[in-house]
Amino acid sequence: MGTVINILQARGNTADFVSRLSRAHGPQLLRYLERMLGRKDAAEDVAQEAYLKLYRLSRPNEVNSPRALLFDVATKLAIDRIKQAKVEAAAKDAEVEMNEVADEAPRPDRRALLDEAMQRLTHIIEELQPSLRQVFVMRYVTQMPRQEIADKLHITVGAVEQRLTRALTHCRQRLAAHGIDWVGLE
C-alpha cells in the first residue's frame, strides 16, 4: 500500500514512555503497591515492571495508557509476586511458572473498552441510591476526606466506609452486567 509517507513517533522510546507514566501516576501507584505487598522495594520493582510491561503491551500507535490499565497491569504483577512468594515458602525448589507470555503480539483494544467503561460509569453512579451516591461522589469525585464526609452527613466513618464499599460493588456489578470487562483480556 505504502500510502503514508511520514511515519511519526507515537508512544516514543521506552524511557520517554516510562517517565511519562511515572510522572503522571507514579506516587499513587507506588503507595498502592506498597500497601498490597507490604514492602517498598517490592512495590518499586513491580511498578517498574508494570511500566515496561505496559510499554510492550501497547500497540505502537497507542500513547495515552489509561490509568486503570496501568493499575491493572501492576495489580496482576503484584498478585503473581504474592503467589510466587507463597510457593517459594512452601517449596523452595519449585520453580513457578509465571504467565509471562510473549509480549510481541498485538493486543485487544482494552483502551476502547476503558473509554466506554468511563462513560457508562458516570451514568451508573447517577442511578445509585442517593445515600450511596452522595458519599461515593464526595469521596471519589471531590476527594473529600472520610472524616469530613462523616461530619457533614452526621454518620460514623465506619458507615461512610460501608457505603463506599457498597457503592463500589454496585458500580462494578453494573459494569459487568453491561458486558464491560477489561480484566483478563491478555
Binding site: 500500500m1 500510502t3 503514508v4 509517507i5 511520514n6 511515519i7 511519526l8 507515537a10 508512544r11 511519562r20 503522571a24 506516587p27 499513587q28 498502592y32 498490597m36 507490604g38 500507535n61 497507542e62 500513547v63 495515552n64 490509568r67 486503570a68 493499575f71 491493572d72 495489580t75 498478585i79 504474592i82 503467589k83 507463597k86 498485538p106 493486543r107 476502547a112 473498552l113 476503558l114 473509554d115 466506554e116 467503561a117 462513560q119 460509569l121 458516570t122 451514568h123 447517577e126 461522589v137 471519589y140 469525585v141 471531590t142 476527594q143 462523616a150 466513618v157 465506619g158 460501608q162 463506599l164 464499599t165 457498597r166 463500589l168 460493588t169 462494578r172 458486558g179 483478563g184 483480556l185
Partner: protein
C-alpha cells in the same frame, strides 16, 4: 475509626472492600490484615478477577473528565439537565458496546488482531503533542493532542478513519478520487478542501470547514443507508453525535476552531463555562483536573489560553476569576472556591 478490624458482616463485598483498603486508604495495613487479604485473594480465580475489576473502577473514578465531575457534583437542577444529556447518550453507548462486543468476539477467534495490519498505517499523538501526516496522494492531516487516525484507502478511494481526537485536513483536489473521513456512525466526504474534525471523548463530533464544501453523512444502521446528509460550506460548522444532529450547519468563526495549531484555546466572544474550558485543557495534560465546588462549574470566562502549558493556563484562569483558587499537587490540579478553601483549612 476502624471498620477494618470488625468481622466479615460489616465488610461488604470482599473484592470491593479490599480494593478500597489497598487503593484508597492511608492508614497502615497490618501484617495480619495483609495475610487475610492474601489468603482471600488466592482462594479463587474469581476473587482475583473481581479484585482487579474493583481496583479498575476506582482508577476510572480517578480519571473522570471535568464535565463528568461537574455533572456528578452539581445539585439537582443543573445535574438534571446534564443527566438528561447523558441519558441521551444511552443510544450512543448501545452502539459503542455493540461495536466493542463485536471486536471482542473476533479477538477470541484471533481474526481481529491478525487482520489489523492490512487496514493500513495508523498515526497518533500523545498528550500535548501535535503532528503532521502527509499522505502520498498529497493531502495532509495535522493532528492535535491525543489523536489517532488510520489510512483506510486503497486504489481509487482516499479514506481516513478518525479514531479519536482532532485533526485538520488539507485535501488535494481530485474529482476522480473523493476523500473521506470515516468515524463510527458518520462520514465526511470531500473533493478538495480544508476542514477540521474534532471527535470528542463524549462521542460528539464538530466539523468546521475553512475552505470548500464537505458533505457529512450520519449512519444509524451502516454506511449503505445514511440517516441524514448535510452540506457544510466554508466558514460553517456542524455538530452531531451518533444519535443525530446537535446543530444544523451554521456560520462560525472557522479560524477559531484551528487555533489549536498554534497551541491556543481561543474562547468565543460570548465566553464559555469553566467546565468547558477545563474539558478542553484536560486534553493537553496527563494530570487530572478536579473541581471541588459545584458553583465553579457554571462560571463564565473569556479570552485565550495556552494549551502547551496547562499550568500557566490555569494560573491565568485564577487571575481572571479571583474567587477561584488553583492548587497543584502530584498528578492533580484542584480548583476550589477561595472562600470554601479557606473554610476547609
Amino acid at each position: 475509626m476502624s471498620t477494618h478490624d470488625t468481622g466479615p458482616p460489616d465488610m461488604g463485598n470482599r473484592a470491593d472492600f479490599w480494593a478500597r483498603r489497598m487503593a484508597d486508604a492511608s492508614d497502615t495495613v497490618t501484617v495480619a490484615e495483609r495475610d487475610d487479604f492474601t489468603a482471600w485473594l488466592l482462594a479463587s480465580e474469581e476473587n482475583e478477577m473481581d479484585y482487579r475489576r474493583a481496583v479498575g473502577v476506582l482508577q476510572l473514578m480517578a480519571s473522570l473528565p471535568p464535565s463528568a465531575q461537574s455533572a456528578l457534583i452539581s445539585p439537582s437542577g443543573e445535574g438534571r439537565a446534564e443527566s438528561a444529556r447523558i441519558a441521551g447518550r444511552r443510544n450512543i453507548l448501545k452502539f459503542a458496546s455493540l461495536a466493542a462486543s463485536v471486536a471482542i468476539g473476533l479477538v477470541a477467534g484471533g481474526i481481529y488482531l491478525e487482520n489489523r495490519g492490512i487496514f493500513g498505517e495508523s498515526h497518533s499523538t500523545a498528550t500535548g503533542e501535535t503532528s503532521t501526516v502527509k499522505f502520498s496522494e498529497g493531502s495532509v492531516a495535522y493532528l492535535n493532542t491525543r489523536t489517532r487516525i488510520r489510512w483506510l484507502g486503497s486504489g481509487n478511494d482516499r479514506r481516513v478513519e478518525l479514531i479519536a481526537g482532532e485533526a485538520l485536513f488539507d485535501v488535494v483536489h481530485d474529482e476522480t478520487r473523493p476523500f473521506s473521513v470515516m468515524m463510527d456512525g458518520s462520514e465526511i466526504r470531500v473533493l478538495g478542501t480544508r476542514f477540521n474534525v474534532y471527535r470528542k471523548d463524549s462521542g460528539d463530533v464538530v466539523v468546521t470547514v475553512l475552505e470548500g464544501t464537505v458533505e457529512v453523512r450520519g449512519f444509524a444502521q451502516g454506511p449503505s443507508q445514511p440517516e441524514w446528509v448535510r452540506r457544510v460550506k466554508a466558514n460553517q460548522q456542524i455538530e452531531y453525535r451518533p444519535i443525530g444532529l446537535v446543530a444544523e450547519p451554521h456560520s462560525a468563526d472557522a479560524l477559531r476552531a484551528v487555533t489549536w495549531r498554534s497551541g491556543v484555546l481561543q474562547l468565543p466572544e460570548e465566553g464559555a463555562t469553566i467546565t468547558s474550558v477545563l474539558d478542553e485543557l484536560t486534553r493537553y495534560t496527563d494530570k487530572r483536573i478536579l473541581i471541588r465546588d459545584p458553583q465553579i462549574a457554571g462560571i463564565k470566562v473569556g479570552g485565550a489560553f495556552n494549551t502547551r502549558d496547562v499550568k500557566s493556563a490555569l494560573q491565568k484562569l485564577q487571575m481572571g476569576v479571583p474567587t477561584i483558587e488553583v492548587h497543584e499537587s502530584e498528578g492533580l490540579y484542584t480548583l476550589d472556591l477561595r472562600a470554601a478553601a479557606t473554610e476547609r483549612n
